[in-house]
Amino acid sequence: MINTDKVRLMTKCACYIKNEESKNLSIANFFKRDYVRWNVLKSLVSATLGYILLVLLFALCKYNEIFLVLNQLKYKEIVVIVLVGWLATMVIYFVIAELVYRHRFEQARPGVTEYYKTLKKIKRYYRVEKDNSPRMLDEEGDLNNDEFIDY
């Protein structure tokens, strides 16, 4: 017979997996610090790529002027300016990413905790069902070897 309470809990879990799986359940695999560090690292990489593209765009805008004074360019100064800009971008993105992913972890945690609590309840139902079920009998009506109890 179908246990409606168990089905209700299973539906709750299935809905959670369907809607939140990609976002939140992956959080459960990480400790908070690891999750934040991993995502901050990814953000810094993408911010670096974005910065390189912006520098490239700037160079493309000025390439006529750059080409004319190619021999007189102060490469050291240019490299220093680009590096300082990159460092500033990294600091800004580090702070933003740290705040965003900390907040995201904190927000997702209650939902994930609730999901695992519901899973535990379902497990309990299974245990009760198993305990109350008639012992497994083989074709002759005897108890299976693994279910034999020696009184």
Partner: protein, 315 residues
Amino acid sequence: MTNLLIIRDFLKAFFQRYERFLVPVVRFLYAMMVLIVFRNLFGYSDTLYEMPVVLAISFVCAFVPTGVIYIMMAIIAVMDVMNLSTQVALVLVIFFLVIYLLYLRFVPGKSWMVLVSMMLAIKLPCLVPLLAAMFVGPVAIVPAISGIVLYYFSIHARQLEPLINASTDDVSESQIPYLMTTLVGDKEMLLFIAVTAIIIMITYLIYKSSLRHAWFMAIVIGTALMIFMLLAGSMMIEDDISVFTILLGSLLSGAIAIVVQFFKGVLDYGRIEIVQFEDDEYYYYVKAIPKIHIAEKDVNVQKFNERDANSDDYE
């Protein structure tokens, strides 16, 4: 008012019931509108905007997430601009990539905001900050500004077209510097960017405050400030934005924002969930329907004197 509330509840129930079909339809229409706007803003390729192609692309977009729609639309815009010039297309690629790398990676669900902001910039630029503040918050400043920049990029790219067609060597060498110099020096664009950012912040702060009728005050103050800032700004930069356009655009945007606010709750419904799972004994196919309460017309008119007072009976 009761009728409006009944309509709203009806719409809410309707959306809840047919969400599975409505979401793809809305995505289809959204993609189609973006493509039509692209045809007006860019439109350098004829084949990309033929009706069967537009319908096919929109059909595909109906079944993919909004982030994928953003990528598809970016590819289409770049392919289109390639017909004008490879250099201009390269700048557009960099724009789309920078928006993605520096912003959309953090807030992936807001990619639609870039394209909507771009679409509204054509006729109703004043609506962008109001809707952005109401629906998204300060996080919307970046995509709203990106949309405005993309719109002005398309205008300056079009101005470049006759120069490119003249095909002199000087022009082919200096397309990107010319485009970027005119874009960065466009004071009208800078004015709209500044106004959009400020209005989003102010409207959002009032909208989220605990004041009575905060949403109404936010829209009214936001609209009034926008009119003032645009008028003052256009006088300062000596731009030719007409006073009539600013007034009409802002007031219309305010009115649309009020209507949108009223129906905003329509989308705030519990979804019908269809899930499949199994245990050792059964396969389960469950359709979970949230309980809803539809307000009904609760008007009881009791007539105490049904006879006409002016009828002959009283004479």
